[in-house]
Symmetry: C2
Subunit: 244 residues, 2 copies
């Protein structure tokens, strides 16, 4: 898996990140049922929260709508919030592996950029899979930014993601995460760029693919976060003269 060709440096635009190692065989009945249940709970949770708001949906509601007992809900998700934001463990593990192995020899920044961009695509796909129309998710994302409860929940989730990324980076760089600030900093920044991408993707009404926004955010970062990057022009609406 070692790439001998000169590592592509500079912009690594949405390069199909080494597809997370597909899990090919083990799809037993049991496994399929579990996945179905998980997905069902997630879908229902999303729907109910979208229409009533987080505080007005109880776990009992979700469970009932998904036709399982409330106790089962907690077999799948540790908290009510997790049903909304939780990445499933498999995907998380895939992400981790991808960061460790992606484009060996390339700078960590570029590797993490490529991987996070790919992860963004994955998230968008998940959303699509979950059904519901785009208008729904956009409304939903807005809620996630508005409602304090949801904000907190999302933050917690992002923190977990960040930790995973940081650990993977430390491994990639053979660094001691306790002593070396670099992996943690890079992880923090990378996750921040993903969040930014998501926000502006949803603000733009999902005009372009999510991954493009995320990749752009990384680009802007690499350029030193210039106050007048192309990001300013997201929807062709060039604003200017914003002070220095």
């Amino acid at each position: 898996m070692t790439v001998t060709s000169p590592a592509p440096v500079g912009t690594v635009p949405a390069q199909p990140p080494p597809a997370p190692p597909e899990v090919p065989p083990p799809v037993s009945l049991r496994e399929r049922k579990k996945r179905a249940t998980r997905r069902s709970l997630r879908r229902v949770a999303l729907e109910l929260v979208a229409e009533r708001g987080f505080p007005h949906v109880t776990v009992e509601d979700i469970a009932a709508t998904a036709d399982v007992s409330p106790r089962t809900f907690f077999n799948y998700f540790p908290t009510k919030e997790a049903a909304l934001f939780g990445m499933d463990p498999d995907r998380m593990a895939g992400l981790r592996a991808a960061i460790v192995d992606a484009v060996p020899g390339a700078p960590a920044f570029d590797a993490v950029r490529a991987v996070m961009t790919g992860a963004a695509r994955g998230m968008a796909e998940d959303l699509r899979d979950l059904g519901g129309n785009p208008a729904d998710w956009l409304r939903w994302m807005k809620a996630a930014r508005t409602d304090p409860h949801l904000r907190a929940a999302q933050a917690a989730q992002m923190a977990q993601l960040e930790r995973t990324v940081a650990e993977a980076l430390a491994q990639r760089l053979r660094a001691d995460a306790e002593r070396d600030p670099y992996p943690g900093m890079l992880a923090a920044v990378a996750v921040a760029m993903v969040r930014s991408g998501v926000i502006f993707w949803s603000n733009s009404g999902g005009a372009m693919a999510l991954e493009l926004y995320v990749d752009r955010a990384f680009g802007a970062l690499k350029d030193g976060l210039p106050e007048d990057s192309q990001l300013r022009h997201v929807d062709g609406n060039v604003t200017e003269g914003k002070g220095i």
Copy 2:
């Protein structure tokens, strides 16, 4: 507010950020009591959690130890977590104002760097004020990074800080936070740098002032997060050859 003087660019190192507008007169008895209660609750919460771990401390414990009713606890903090990590609203407002007004005309990056560095000093002072010996907080900070509960709580708190910073930046730049990604991105990155600073400050055993770590993190960021920055050498332990 278009600035005509050549904007000071480059490092703006730990310039005493325009001291948050001191609240000079209104220290009525009532106000003093409230502050005492808040501080007491906070201190007790910290202590108990430090010695027993977050899940083994109930709000009832905290309230009892602080000699108030459990209901009163919730008059001060919306959640159990908030007692541990919550910045008080005054300080938050001060921060916001500082970002809007700091070093008028300077690039937003430099302004936010200066203000966040100052905020870091404030945090360190708060910790000192709260009493307990340094060893205690260091142990505490470690716990905050280790325990999943605490991590989540801290993340939620940081999200709130980030939002405040983003709004302040938008105001400073006269940007529309909905359309313009820049304030949000910069805020995300700035808060990430503060967190990094805190982490490495605590890892280093509080050797140098917290603000220095935070300022360094900003410096590293400005230099494009080079994989071999001086940050690598935090404790004189130069590690090398970390892949590209």
